[in-house]
Symmetry: C2
């Protein structure tokens, strides 16, 4: 008799056959006694089709109108899924973001949900209907259609679960859960039964992209029990939790990595207040995101400064930094875009010392040189030469005992 | 400085190129000083694509969800046209039926417009924007998306023009106006500069289908000046008027014909009250529309009864009538599906006697036998053998002086 919000992504609803398969699954769970709200994305390929049309009439794609256009993608899916449900005798009702009052701010293309009026959804659930809601879209206070940006359907599902006080929010995707690391790199990688929201946030932002990060933050804020499952095979998936109930929990939950970064170093700049702001400010002004930042103070009144940016921004950032180096009278500027960032993540780190030490030893034993280090409460990240990616991840996965059966993160 | 509502159908917005062409035209008229509201249909082919998807998930296509699905068609067009307008420096805003509060009843698939709240449109117009509105769709009082049925975009345009008190409602289509008859039959057929709404209604319902009939009724009710024009070539089109201002007006405006009917006759039924109801009632109960009905009373206390139905319903109607003939002890039942209905239409008939007489004489002179006659205040219809269609229409077109230059209907 639980109230469950489920979300199915574009691949899961990518064809009439797949929509019918989702309908079957949903109808079976309703028949088993659960109340269901189903949030869906646009059919895979649909958003790109619409973008092509938009580009053909106006390459600038004005944001307000682009949102009106893209919102048709999910509207198509909600209608089709509701029809499919009705076709197998399961009463259903579809709602657009506007109809179910998913109120957002007015930042077209990246709007944030402010409020959901769930009264109508509740009334339908009470009447035994499955409620099918368009993900990714909302409406601002002036009635303009907005979208939450790609992947925003996850956020819609979590927000809906929060508004309804649902027992669980299930995100169906094409993977069967969150893994200790990428199984393509480490075949022994293991699905986690549970992971804390903090770990999930670190894993997601570090490249293990299973869930849209904003939806995880949202779930954390409202403590919505969130589960990642496969829409193609049965299984318990991975539950994202909010409490470190399990005293016996593993030290680390997973190993994330990111191959999309490049490293830049400026050496011998005067060690004086405001210098970090001056260097990073110039990069940020050019709309380049900076990830890791490391500063070492030398003995000669100068300092070295290293940071990473997205690889796509490498050339631009190197150019900017070279110009700044002249102004700052820095000794030299170097860069490297053949690097990889590897992170170990786990709430167990909080109560156990020596995790970083173990990590460094494992890498040293394999002869892997660490170029940068950055730590947070539940994460240690290192930058190494990209050629060591597989070796480093496998060695760490084994050293921290992540292989083997089950066990929660 | 006029306020104009324009409507472009699916062919006129059938591709990004065509949408850009419409945008250019609209922007030019705005630049010339007019305020413009543009109502658009789904891109040609889009509605069929959506129907295919619907059939694939549920051949029954539940009406509420079908409307949610089909409404995406016009939503796509409004976004694209607004983008195209913005792309050439013409400020524009798109609105779905729901956003501009096109309130309808809740008959999904054939909803009727009850009310439009035009405040938002007015505010945009005052700010110099072109307002682009999705045709064919509305919202019922519970916030459910409804559609007006195929061709309903014409009705949306007329309703919008009525709500705004527009100076003119222009329906852009693939013909350049209303003709005295079908130019494929009579090459001398002439575009009418003007036609009265009553004539237009008779012409439309009789087969000269340029405008959706409901939109013409709507225009008549609110006295919206309605003009039919070509979206592919310049020209004044045909203006639909509400007053018979022109004393010199032609006797008849046009000749309509309908090849889609079949004729059924039941002979020798008892001439007693209720017999017509009994015969037509049985046909109507089977959901068959009856068009012309003619009854002749014989001298022997029996009566003959002839009526026409759509050709697609001919076999079914003949079968039903044959069964009824037994119950009614009728003498015989005959039928003919090789007929055509030809009508002369004109408000001039009201004040001029002898129009029907002239028609009959023209047909007699050509040796064409008249099988049925039916008249209204501004129309005379006859049923003849379909092989005489071209001959009859050409003879009438010439006899009533419809060829030649210009002149209003």
């Amino acid at each position: 008799m639980a109230l469950i919000v489920q979300k199915y992504g574009g691949t899961s609803v990518g064809s009439p056959d797949r929509i019918q398969a989702v309908a079957k699954k949903v109808a079976a769970e309703r028949a088993a006694g659960d109340s269901l709200v189903v949030v869906v994305s646009a059919m895979s390929g649909e958003t790109n089709r619409l973008l092509e049309l938009a580009k053909a009439v106006n390459p600038d794609m004005p944001p307000r109108e682009l949102d009106v256009l893209l919102a048709t993608g999910e509207q198509t899916t909600i209608a089709l899924l509701s029809m499919a449900l009705e076709g197998i005798g399961c009463p259903a009702r579809s709602y657009t973001g506007q109809q179910v009052h998913i109120r957002t701010d007015n930042f077209h293309g990246k709007a944030r949900i402010q409020d959901i009026d769930a009264a109508r959804v509740r009334s339908d659930l009470e009447q035994g209907r499955v409620v099918v809601v368009a993900g990714f879209q909302g409406v601002d206070e002036d009635g303009n259609i907005t979208t939450l940006g790609r992947g925003g359907s996850d956020t819609t599902a979590v927000a809906m679960a929060a508004a309804l006080g649902a027992d669980e929010c299930q995100i169906y995707t094409d993977v069967d859960g969150v893994y200790t690391t990428d199984p393509r790199i480490v075949p022994e990688a293991r699905r986690l039964d549970r992971i804390t929201v903090e770990e999930m946030l670190e894993m997601a932002s570090l490249g293990a992209k299973v869930l849209q990060i904003r939806s995880v933050e949202f779930a954390g804020k409202y403590r919505v029990p969130l589960r990642v499952l496969s829409s193609f095979e049965d299984g318990p998936g991975t539950l994202i939790t909010y409490e470190e109930e399990d005293m016996e929990q593993a030290l680390i939950s997973g190993i994330a990595f990111n191959r999309d970064e490049a490293k830049l170093t400026i050496r011998g700049v005067p060690d004086q207040p405001g210098i970090a702001h001056q260097i990073i400010g110039g990069i940020a002004d050019a709309n380049i995101n900076v990830d890791m930042i490391v500063q070492n103070v030398g003995g000669d009144g100068t300092t070295d400064f290293t940071f990473t940016v997205h690889r796509a921004d490498y050339a631009k950032a190197l150019d900017l930094l070279t110009k700044q180096a002249k102004t700052l009278k820095a000794r030299e500027v170097t860069g490297d875009d053949k690097i990889v960032k590897i992170s170990i993540v786990g709430v167990g780190m909080r109560s156990h010392a020596g995790i970083a030490h173990t990590m460094f030893k494992v890498l040293a034993d394999e002869g892997i040189n660490i170029q940068m280090i950055s730590t947070s409460e539940i994460k240690v990240s290192v930058v190494v030469d990209e050629k060591y990616l597989e070796l480093a991840v496998r060695a760490l996965h084994s050293a921290f005992g992540l292989e083997g059966e089950a066990a929660a993160g």
